[in-house]
Assembly symmetry: C2
Homo-oligomer: 209 residues x 2
């Protein structure tokens, strides 16, 4: 298809598509003339993925480029490939040795196998440290409750990825599941909280605004 | 305490504390001399909250100021007060009428009472729309699974907030729980995924890097 059709089908302006090609987020189309290129379904697919990362994930172009480079570079096993992409999607955070030790104790207690280089390990360490500073004294209870909540999600997600027909489709699933999954959890938790607050604190009466 | 002690106890540099006072994120101390002010425990408390919002929440100063203004303005009921602060912490997102209708159908099906003005409603609508565009065809199953995961968290959170001794403490709990809770879920889901992937795809052998 021509760039105009790619634009129509994706809802992304032609100038933006050309920008993505220049920035290496989208492979160039096949040249069919001096000012004309031909794009295929894989371009449309990739373009939608780029938009999800930028618009919903709020990721800068340089980060998206780095993630897509990981997506496109094969690894020896599916486990390694999925892990590499998930790591690329997770920003490591500053954490002290004490905070990291608390995470490791938590992982040991839950019997979760996680590499020391996992950026999520430092992200959890930072959150635990801040919660302690803020005097949240029921912290271990809260963390276990959250861990119980995400465990079945993780099991369903990895099983669904492993069942996909191609490695590319599984890798794309990690990108989508990681970025959109965070947003989904965030929105749903707030909606559930409002419902619970309405029932528990407001006698079931919704407040109309 | 003097500003130097406030700095030592919070780990926030004096210049940054003075910046927060100028920007209205922290109330000024009591003037005790031409170049000297006295700060109390509430200042330390507020300062830690500001740091959590900026450092961990990644929120800009203007957003933090707007949130704190909501925190400090009382409402008629605890339900309204908690809701107002939670809304201030949630960025509304662009969504089409079709996407919002899908959210409303979901809320009706789950029997969750949520105001139409909830920013989380538009945030969920956007995620559902993007998932559809990306061809995730098992969407309703995924959303219900996520909703099942967050529901017990919301119930525990609202009950814990309602049990706090003062409205101020409950409101602070919403701020912390909303911002840090998102980070906690995000990090724990990734850690759980790595463990599940190690067991399911890598025969239980951790990959050492």
């Amino acid at each position: 298809m021509r760039v105009g059709e790619l634009s129509n089908r994706s809802g992304v302006p032609v100038a933006t598509i050309k920008f993505y090609v220049r920035e290496g987020l989208l492979p160039p189309g096949d040249r069919t003339g001096p000012n004309q290129s031909d794009y295929g379904e894989p371009h449309l697919h990739r373009l939608r993925l780029v938009r999800a990362l930028i618009d919903v994930g709020g990721l800068p172009v340089a980060t998206v480029r780095a993630i897509l480079a990981q997506v496109d570079a094969p690894e020896a096993t599916l486990h390694l490939q999925l892990g590499k992409v998930q790591y690329a999607l997770t920003a490591p955070r500053p954490a002290t040795d004490d905070e990291l030790a608390e995470v490791d104790a938590f992982l040991t207690r839950r019997d979760w196998t996680v590499r020391p280089s996992s950026p999520a390990r430092s992200a959890l360490a930072e959150v635990l440290g801040v919660m302690r500073t803020l005097g949240q004294d029921d912290l271990p209870v809260v963390v276990d409750r959250y861990a119980d909540a995400v465990r079945p999600l993780a099991e369903a997600e990895v099983a669904a990825l492993a069942a996909r027909e191609t490695v590319d489709a599984a890798v794309e699933g990690v990108v989508i599941g990681t970025v959109l999954g965070d947003r989904l959890l965030s929105a749903l938790r707030r909606l559930a909280e409002e419902d619970v607050s309405t029932r528990l604190l407001n006698g079931g009466t919704p407040v109309v605004r």
